[in-house]
Subunit: 346 residues, 2 copies
């Protein structure tokens, strides 16, 4: 079998903003399928802000590993269809997820633990969901949103929860999950269009654009009585505004710091407020909360089916568009879950 | 009754280092004792780094209130003896604590809630402890040390715990409590003398001076396998070193940030490690954990009595020395609990 595939590789690490030229699309021979392996034709691959942290010599310690130069980008959630199987429990035609994305064909070791377990090869039930939903609400995005609210106890309801980057893949789920659990939800995003979508379609209680006013000002107007929980995807001035706006005993769940991925990060200068107001700040990765996956999928799957949960996708067509998709995500020009639809597999 | 007393007042707010000239000692008439009040002749008053945060126009939101200029400094823990009582439950000769310190005589409303409850008038059992111990191990210092370890789950034992400013009032208790609960304890302090005391007398497992080497380097040598818990009294470079050194799932308890009280604070630039390593950072005030007070006093009282817990005091003599005591505390030149012994009451 002389199958040839294509993959996106990192050509050089960006200093500052990521650009198209930092990547290249390379033709590669696909290895023969060994025992315990399956060959997957990928159909959808994920594009997430956190990938930016891996476009460097060394990713932050404890985070997912950096992408090597001139090699496959391993560790990106992906959906595909099994086209050949030598692994027990997987058969041709199965729709699966795994973590060998940004390429059209992948040979996957069915027993290999990928992305802290989240990305380990798994068959998906596509009778209840579109395949790509497993990269969104029913996958890592849903798990991150759900876990973030869970680790700071915001699923008990009755509190005021602020979610930043609320029109993003994780944020747009977090606001809705927080609402479904009976919280008052404040959302912020980067444009008035997104704010309208959050208010009209996702039914948040208040929303503001951080590009229209200072974050502190926007938050104060949206939550004059203060907030109990902040779901942080942004860092920087957003996190500082949250610490200012927190009530005593408030909690922060940090899943990312997108405002700082392309610059030198600066910590929150008002961290002492954590002492003054007995605040808790928890960083977390969705994939560290795999024990919540089944609960999350059941709950969000039901909510999707009966229309209480909405998801929106920004889809880029064709594998070669993956770098553009990442650039757009980091620039904040996408809404909901950003995906590459691999329509151009050979 | 024409009793005259003396009190320390703030004359002006320091910009930068606090100096003697920011205070003055003023003669004041003592009000007559009203119904529900007691007159206390103070004998010991507390000197804590956190007082520095109140020497400004406005203290951090949610923290204890700022000291007004040219008025009594309310809200500082103090020990004294009741010399007149019109309050039920208090009689002449009782040794009490309350929060009207930095003066020789205080008229205390027995029912007034002071310092979030901690400083509310209370009779002390001096058959089991020296009176001033209630400003140290058996008072706010013990409570802060105990609560800090409690809020991050470090009382379960079996972990590696780093305590900074470990020769200070809170730190020296935190290291010992952490040891008593079966943890491996790493301590840091500002001089080789303090390091020797920590190793020889307090029996910590490893210790280093941040003045002899970079904090990161010292921590790495003392805890090459990383730390599970960091008890933070210092902030700044110490907190950054802790985030670097944390194992997955590690926890930080912040009780103070003494390195930043006289300068513009900068947050930890490596806060993203909280996401990468699933870290929890909790700020807290001892006085927010009053429910632990009885447990703490019983446990530490027993440990003091049988010699398993040691405390050291740096005592300044006479009310007028209180500002000097504060200056020395902030400069890191005191060891253990810093106290003013009010031997000069009229």
């Amino acid at each position: 079998m002389n199958l040839m595939g294509r993959q996106v590789q990192v050509r050089s690490y960006p200093q500052g903003p990521v650009r198209r030229e930092h990547f290249e699309v390379v033709d590669v021979p696909i290895d023969p399928v060994g025992p315990g392996e399956v060959l997957v034709r990928n159909t959808w691959t994920s594009v997430d802000p956190g990938l930016r942290l891996r476009l460097r010599e060394a990713a932050p310690e404890g985070y997912f590993v950096a992408f090597p130069l001139h090699a496959a980008m391993d560790g990106i959630m992906t959906i595909g269809e099994v086209v050949e199987s030598r692994a027990e429990g997987f058969k041709v035609g199965d729709v699966v997820w795994h973590a060998l994305g940004w390429r059209d064909y992948a040979v996957v070791d069915a027993s290999a633990v990928q992305l802290s377990g989240l990305g380990t090869l798994r068959t998906l039930d596509i009778s209840i969901a579109e395949p790509q939903w497993y990269l969104g609400a029913l996958g890592g995005m849903g798990l991150t949103a759900y876990a973030g609210l869970w680790v700071v106890g915001a699923l008990k309801g009755g509190e005021t929860v602020w979610v930043s980057a609320a029109a993003g893949a994780v944020g747009s789920l977090a606001v809705q999950i927080a609402k479904l659990h009976g919280n008052r939800v404040v959302a912020s995003a980067g444009s008035e269009d997104k704010v309208r979508w959050l208010l009209d379609d996702l039914q948040v209680d208040a929303a503001f654009s951080y590009r229209s006013a200072e974050v502190r000002t926007g938050l104060k107007a949206a939550a004059p009585e203060g907030i109990d929980v902040y779901f942080d995807c942004v860092g920087g001035d957003h996190l500082e505004a949250a610490l200012d706006g927190m009530r005593r005993g408030g909690r922060v769940a940090i899943c990312g710091s997108i405002s700082e991925y392309e610059s030198e990060p600066a910590g929150p200068r008002n961290l002492f407020l954590a002492v003054a107001k007995d605040l808790t700040i928890r960083g977390f990765r969705g994939s560290s909360n795999l024990d919540l996956l089944d609960t999350m999928q059941t709950e969000l799957g039901t909510a999707l089916a009966d229309g209480r949960l909405r998801q929106r996708e920004t889809v880029f067509d064709g594998l070669t568009s993956a770098p553009d998709a990442l650039i757009e995500v980091i620039a904040g020009r996408t809404t909901g879950k950003t995906l590459v639809h691999i329509t151009d597999a050979r």
